[in-house]
Symmetry: D3
Subunit: 328 residues, 6 copies
């Protein structure tokens, strides 16, 4: 049996038992989606967001697209991980000189707790084009953004939640300036979150039929006995456009470019109406996971159709067993 | 408080109060869509159509696509603006020499009453390619089409409902021969509806996130205290194709190329199933408005997913207030 | 009144009377889709498949896409034509040297009974690219595949269910290596199912508005008094991708390149949710028909949204009458 | 024998006899190109320009692209029609309010003398996109531009050199906002050069193998016994991009939408190095013709490879005879 | 040392010794191209054609594109293989019922002498789209075309010049309806030139840097000691369009799907002006070879830039030695 | 008068005075190109390469594409900077563990001398896709490559030739995996050539008509009084593909993201035959400059048509004066 190496419990995380007769390893929350559309007078949709345990409750950084179709990041609070109360104003980000940065034009955040700091990575229209930005916070009140660690064009920067010796490591999906029709996962490292190098390839799109076009990292990797469990998204192109699905790989504890398992099947396809129709149809886009070491439970947050936030569940045992049995 | 300058009342127009708790300025009719699919043995879908008050009831020119996917225009009658009875045969159009013109290959009609005449503009496969055609009628029994006022390729020709001195003015969206990936709104003018010139730019796509790819004029402009209220459609391109939404601008009374307000938020996105799935998915396409001067009520008719006719409501006060507060 | 020339009865075939007030000639089964998604622990979706009467019950070859998005063919059994029990393992195909062929990478099968043999045609990733493959069986336990009768790139190979003198005849839709944006129906012939030639054009895409982009043959043609009834699929391209609909043509008894009727209207568009949203949105793709000579009933099996198997019904009288009245 | 109906002689126009053994009806000037590249310290290339007899010499409006790849119009003077002296500064254009218009962003001018005025039509980045603009002059010192007679997107506006009753007539090629892959010739008319309407189709691309992709009008039409001789360009797309060639049609004296002859062969393909390589490779783009009534000589000016101005010769007899013999 | 297995001498074939200091195995004729442009009053260009020894002289089938950019086949005669005299009228082809077939819309012919008959394969706009057609002749006066052995879309059908047991074998490059961006070589076989089957893959594009996009068979294969020498074309895509180069493979005597050598280097790139500029720039397209058994000389005919016919030379020893040394 | 801040003389660098009457600031070498095609029995073309003074002569790293169209780097030697003798074998590169790296799949090298080391940057098919690689050498015999400082996809990495405090700075052009249709210049920095960060935008494509599509850095920047002179390439897209031209900008001494001058005109367009036709037509691609402090002379090496190495000349005075006068 596999277990979470962080050993942290989270008894109040969202949970729902697997439906009777359901045979697959990941199942949806019966009350999905957990955010409605329109979300509020100012916000049209909440999706592709991240959440972590914080002071016995939950806190997150959420992508909220307003009625002008502009993306901003908001801090949201939740007691149960399901009902989320967004703050009134978008996130407060300071640049390295202490100036307030516009919260707009930012999207698809991930949060990694490394030591006592929370590192938020997100897509940002800085440096003339979209690329990955990094900000850190301790209190989710003020976020300090690093100075352009990356040139264009990156998406889906996702930190590992601990250092490797002196180094932080981050997963990245290089792309082009638009809806790029290619996408592979790379890892690069840094001592200071300012200068990155020694890049390596992790996994190439096309290792299974549901990710023929591109793959990218999803939530912050989870360290388990076998290595790092990385939930990913994969994309194929059809006669009716792209389909984004959820999958998983497991990579080596010390060298994430060593892939131990690539799960052949997709873990979740867009099949429910809130996944197949919304803003961008046919999108299941995982971006956060809550875990409970005691029970092995996992609650996976994913964006649905670029329009909603949704939840799916599994356990470490069931998921890792499935990945191992279904890898070549 | 804003008001409709035409001062005309329409007490029997469709209406439904805003749902409790709904915060946005435009709300859908709870019994949408108002036309079913298949519509009849011969007609598959009714959409992107126009309706006006007429002899105490309502009359309209409707785009009806048959089961061979060919578009024709039909005259439809309604007592309440919701239940529409289509005539058995398509519209009767005569050309300038008195010959009957085929009603087929015509689509997306608008109606403007100018003086005592009703001017219907529509897309027409004449002159070798699609362009905007103009026909006039007094009785909705016979329509007289003008001789090719335009070369290819125009879509969404929409007249202002009164003359400007000696001139009629029409909004147009130049395009290419296919599903063009560009589209801006221009105005051009004519003394006789036969010769047009002195064109000017009105508004360029991309003034907000929901109209990055193209914009075009929707229903006949409505004159209010502030100027002309023009409800528009806007389009963005996603990984799953185009999304058509509804928005609004307000332009100057005398010179429609002077834009006073461009409402940043979209007024209605495709979110209901009859808007997100149908024939062309993700289409909200406004083409007609009924107004009541006394109450300030507005009933907006829009095509949904190129498959259905739907209704949305607002009031002049609520809408104009929202536009003003949300323009830069 | 038209009738099926094979004279065979099939009293236990699926059937449901036309709903009251429904005016069109083909109506859906009220319990559609007849296969759910996910279908099982290993199979995600069942679609675009074929079924025939066999020993008083029904048997078929089914396209089953697994959770890795790979296609395989499975034999399925059914007593009522609605509830289908798939075998545990994919189909067993032998090549001409008696070696077992992988059942994977095969899709969209059709079955034609010619004499006492069942000929299954399907798309196959053989000979470096996808093309049409042919296999025969008597018992649905072992299938014998012929040696590459075709070079790339063909889709939708569909045999006529009897010989024409010494010749077998097959319908084909040549295409390119991807989601080709062109597609017409050709017929070619063979004495031995190994060497094909004397090709002729049958029908060109674009004979009606719903098949502007491509057409291809659907189920095995059905011989009736008038000739061969060929149910087809047709495709148009929209702002939101391709739409696959169902239609029909009737061709000459002796020379299938002589088209007698091309039904202008589509017989079934994607309008139900299981057709408009699934894997590839907006797909109605007919691949099999069961017929009953006594009653003239027809049960049409079609793939819905590349995600489900569905059923529609009509009668030979109603359908042929409609085709004749609606052809030019 | 055909003759020029304007009856004007031009004894000093450029001329060179047909080379011995050359069999085709149009031959190149042996000293082509007549403008070099770089043309001057400020101008990189001169091409796609127009020239007319003026006060016993020649004067023209020339497209000059500078070293920043920006297009401007210049007036040029020539005694022999071959050696052209460009003025130091670009053309002076006034708008309808007497303001000076920037000479930049304008290209591909044509000149038509109608009565005593010279009407220059050209592509102009006015009204937000490129479209056809009209300016008139008597002295080639000041040009008066009309107010936006056209919305976007037109190219190749070419006036007929006389009125038709009360009407001016202009040929146009509607297009899209880029290097459009379609293009047909239309004619529209106006009483005042401000309002245009009663459009008609003249000729559709694809009437011969060299114009499969698009056609557009070239120089000002020339009235001859048979009707109007219109030299055109035609375009085909190849594995190495577009090829622009020269061709001709003859249309009716009174109704230019009546095409009397469409010359099947191209008159000149890009074959010389200054035509096949330059800026845009493979372009022969005719824009002006000088004629001599006495001798029937014609000197055709054409842009070569978007880089040079070149000359070709023919006679009215030889050309019209060839067109007639080679039309269907 | 390798030799030609047909043992036939051809002392009057074109020849020129290798230039001093030239190091590569294939060298151009110093008087290239051997056909001029325009070729004649009716023919603009001659290219992509085939030639064989015949009655002590040479005869060929030539692709001649006229000034309307239409392709036709012509028979041409030559005493020296360099100076070619085209017949006045295009080729006379009869169909299976003895009707004369239009010589137009046919292109890129190859000739294979099998037994005492000459089999000409060419691209033909028959059966609604372009595909490979086959005609035979003994006298080059009348050609008898077979009835549609192939459906669309094939290019570059090239017969082996002898039977394999009872079977003729032909190389084919399946493609799409346009300038397809893929292309591999397949072989298929027939007893009667009417019915083809048992297809196999021969070689896939991308085996070297000059053929990344597609490859296709060139001249009729030449049997040598090692097997069949097949000269091919290969294509790569660049920022300025496709580049067609010449290369070679050697396949097994009995089973041409067994590739023995794939020559890594290209044998000839477009570098001379008549190859880099013409109609379609950057095309070297080999279609015929003359050989002399005594000396081992080879004269390779190739189309240059879709505008000219050109010649290159090598010897069997030099070429085969180079292929062997440069294959993996 | 401007001067080179490095103060180094290079009396034997190539030079040719400006031709009489030539008015533009950069002129071509009269004996261009300086490398022929085919270059040798193994090498087809030499282009896009770099050269520096070394021990009183010149040495360089050259991109040599072989006859299989594969790129490798070679060291070349020259006494006069014009006649270059390539070594027999490609460059010897060691990775960080001392293993020999394949010299293939590398292209477009630049050389910057920083201190006593020569840093070579080049495009490299490492880490699964092309990106920028860095190697250093002192003797041009062994090159030591750093471990993947960059993820995909970068092109045109160009170092500044001195450190800025503790930091090396490098110019980069992020791109996609193919012939990307976008390209801007960024600068990023590193203390160790292993970890890069603090990226900034330098210049965006589209500042003039010749670089509408993309721009990228050319040779190693040259420090002059005004700042850093950076010769760049710029690209526009035409109906016949991309055109690569040469231009220049000047940026701040201390902060290269501060652009002082952007020269509006292009400095050199493809106009000579060796630039307009070759492998990729229409390419002028500057990659190296030799300078002489005493005379202010500059010899610019550029790749022509991806097929040849060529030379152009100017002086610091003439060039900088021209840039200043032609910047906005």
């Amino acid at each position: 049996m596999s277990k979470f190496l962080d050993g942290k419990n989270c008894p109040n995380m969202p949970w729902e038992d697997k439906p009777d007769g359901y045979e697959l390893p990941v199942w949806r929350y019966s009350k999905n989606p957990i955010t409605k559309r329109p979300y509020s007078k100012t916000i049209d949709r909440v999706m592709n967001s991240s959440i972590v345990p914080f002071n016995g409750e939950f806190i997150g950084v959420f992508r909220c697209d307003n009625h002008s179709n502009r993306s901003a990041l908001y801090v949201g609070h939740s007691k149960d991980g399901v009902n989320i109360v967004m703050e009134d104003e978008p996130i407060k980000i300071l640049d390295s000189e202490g100036n307030i940065v516009s919260p707009w034009g930012k999207f698809d955040p991930r949060i990694a707790k490394i030591g006592e700091e929370y590192y938020v990575t997100f897509c940002d229209y800085c440096i003339d084009e979209v690329t990955t930005a990094i900000a850190k916070t301790k209190d989710f009140k003020t976020f300090y953004r690093f100075d352009n660690p990356f040139t264009p064009n990156y998406r889906n920067g996702v930190f590992f939640p601990r250092k490797f010796g002196d180094f932080y490591k981050i997963l990245l999906r290089p792309c082009d300036a638009g809806n790029s029709n290619f996408g592979n996962i790379y890892v690069t490292q840094s001592k200071d979150m300012e200068y990155f190098g020694k890049s390596k390839m992790v996994a190439h799109a096309g290792f299974s039929g549901w990710n023929w076009t591109k793959i990218g990292p999803g939530p912050t990797p989870i360290e388990i006995d076998e290595g790092w469990l990385i939930i990913i998204h994969g994309v194929i192109n059809t006669c009716a456009g792209y389909i984004y699905s959820m999958g998983a790989i497991i990579v080596d504890h010390d060298d994430p470019s060593k892939v131990l398992y690539k799960c052949e099947p997709a873990l979740l396809w867009p099949t429910e109406q809130y996944e197949t129709t919304g803003f961008t149809n046919n999108v299941v886009f995982p971006t956060a996971v809550l875990t409970d070491a005691k029970t092995g439970r996992m609650a996976i947050y994913y964006g649905a159709a670029d329009a909603y936030t949704s939840l799916a569940f599994t356990t470490i045992d069931e998921l890792v067993d499935y990945i191992k049995k279904n890898s070549k």
